[in-house]
């Protein structure tokens, strides 16, 4: 790329300044301040917050809940999206366009709207109960709302289009000739999949998993609206800490944030390690 010599390089930083300022003010500063706030409790520098968050109830339970729910949500979201993406990856232009458009439109719908829609469906007098009873699955109406299942299902429904789009774009780039070659060399469908198809998509599967997991850990709308008290996740806990706990809430909330960020960093590194170079390639696209 030829540099335009008519413009000075000082101008470059002037043009970049708004962007950098925005990021600095809205991302870098809050995160830094939050990081340091996690180490303060009652006005002194201490690790007390971390000890509370990692060992005491309800924080420890909440953290474990969050991780468990996020893992399940990530696994199922991607597990569901994978076959669907495989189906569409080789489809014609119209089907492909329809798939991408529908995923994008579903993603564009506000999360609150979707969460509320689940409240409608899972309600005691709602359609799902009626269908289940009509089909003979249950004898009487079940309390489906305010359960862990409701939270997990709603979160899966929210995340799976993200996973689908990531997986789909990777699957479009798959070189099917390699798979075909493996078949002509005598590989069964499963062997061909494992050795020729999977390595080409594994990077984006790992990327999608990391992404969905990260988003899931930060959720607070679905657990707050669809879950019972046993479904509290880190997001709802942080909210409660910041709003109701005037003395120590800030420290505890930011400590949870730091722990969360730390876990996510580990997961991302694990992603690099598992996915190898194809993960890097997907991530930088």
């Amino acid at each position: 790329m030829a540099k335009n010599s008519a413009l000075s390089s000082g101008l470059k930083y002037c043009l970049l300044a708004p962007g950098l300022l925005l990021i600095g003010l809205a991302i870098v500063m809050p995160i830094t301040v939050g990081f340091f706030a996690a180490f303060r409790s009652n006005g002194v520098w201490t690790l007390q917050n971390f000890q509370t968050v990692l060992t005491q109830a309800p924080y420890a339970t909440v953290l474990v809940n969050t991780l468990m729910i996020s893992v399940v949500v990530a696994a199922v979201s991607i597990g569901m999206a994978f076959p669907v993406c495989m189906f569409f990856a080789r489809a014609g232009r119209i089907a492909t366009g329809f798939f991408v458009a529908s995923m994008t439109i579903v993603l564009a719908i506000s999360m609150l709207v979707r969460t509320y829609a689940w409240q409608v469906i899972l309600a005691y007098n709602g359609p799902l109960n009626e269908i289940a009873i009509a089909m003979g699955l249950y004898d009487q109406k079940q309390m489906m709302l305010f359960t862990r299942g409701a939270v997990v299902v709603a979160m899966i429904q929210f995340m799976t289009p993200y996973a689908a789009l990531i997986l789909f774009s990777a699957m479009r780039r798959v070189d099917h000739d390699i798979v075909l070659a493996s078949r002509t060399l005598g590989a069964s469908w499963w062997q061909g999949f494992r050795s020729a198809y999977w390595p080409q998509v594994s990077g984006s599967v790992v990327l999608a998993t990391v992404l969905v997991f990260s988003m899931a850990t930060g959720f607070f709308v679905a657990p707050a609206l669809l879950g019972g008290p046993g479904e509290a996740m880190v997001g709802t806990q942080i909210h409660a800490d910041l709003v109701f706990n005037y003395k120590n809430g800030a420290g505890l909330a930011t400590a949870q944030g730091v722990v969360l960020a730390f876990i996510l960093a580990i997961v991302t590194v694990a992603g690099f390690w598992l996915g190898g170079s194809s993960f890097l390639r997907s991530a930088s696209r």
Partner: protein, 272 residues
């Protein structure tokens, strides 16, 4: 085709249909339920009426909330798009960004909203700026920045460098070239940036609930509090209205992306 092949095919189609039903079912259920005449949600609604729509559209609270959301979303949209376009200019004139810079600009994508919200809360409380709408707009603009930057870079990268030289040889000053040549070529990306950053702010929940205005809350924030406290079908009406707005924006974006794909095939065939 062997028999097992056909069975697999049928199973695949069935799974795909189930997937779509799963994704769309909540919305399909919610829209008719919003037309219920009763006081509580019921599906299928046996008595239809527009009563909840009239209640919502005549309610001072909901309209003020929508207005607040709109104002914040517009400010956020302008900040995010202008900043993104400026980055596009940099890429056009100075070549691709270094990886460190790119990582920094795309960092909002990597950070969970809740971590940002928590830190922002910390920063704003001593500054007594908690709940300030401008702050929320700026924060949401930052979260939308990766999108506008990516769109912007893609658009400006596709413009030929020699176009600038040609225009200045013909006597145009830099501001004329920028306004009359470069912006029109990148127009579809700019409009897409505007729409996406608007949508990002309009739907944004986490920052709005944590650091956004509380008394005069944004629409998502208000919906959240409303859902926590009570749950009349009014919310279904609000949701359906939001859904319609979203679909309209998505349709516009879709048409734009078709147009952009056509343009990218011939980047400089546009007459300024």
């Amino acid at each position: 085709m062997s028999r097992s092949h056909i069975l697999v095919r049928i199973a695949a189609v069935a799974f795909v249909c189930a997937y779509f039903v799963f994704l769309l079912a909540p919305i399909v259920v919610m829209v008719p339920a919003s037309f219920t005449a009763h006081d509580i949600l019921s599906f299928p609604p046996d008595q239809l009426s527009m009563r909840w729509y009239s209640e919502v559209l005549n309610s001072r609270e909901w309209l003020d909330s929508a207005a607040m959301s709109l104002e914040i979303a517009i400010v956020s949209m302008v900040i995010a798009t202008v900043t993104g376009v400026l980055v596009g200019f940099v890429v056009y004139h100075y070549g691709p960004l270094g990886s460190g810079l790119r990582l920094l600009l795309l960092s909002p994508m990597l950070v969970p909203h809740i971590v940002v919200a928590t830190g922002l809360f910390q920063v704003l409380v001593p500054m007594r700026l908690l709940g300030d709408p401008w702050v929320l707009a700026i924060a949401q603009a930052a979260m939308a920045l990766p999108v506008t930057v990516i769109l912007s870079i893609a658009a400006f990268d596709a413009i030929e460098r020699s176009l600038w030289t040609a225009a200045s040889t013909l006597g145009a000053r830099w501001h004329q070239i920028t306004i009359k040549v470069m912006l029109p070529i990148a127009a579809t990306s700019i409009v897409a940036s505007l729409i996406l950053s608007f949508e990002n702010s309009w739907h944004e929940v986490t920052l709005a609930v944590f650091v956004g205005p509380a008394v005069q809350a944004t629409l998502p924030s208000k919906m959240f509090s409303f859902l926590l406290q009570e749950s009349t079908p009014a919310l279904a009406a609000v949701s359906t209205l939001l859904l319609v707005i979203t679909l309209v924006c998505a349709a516009i974006l879709g048409l734009l992306s078709i147009r952009r794909r056509r343009n990218e095939a011939q980047p400089t065939s546009e007459e300024p």
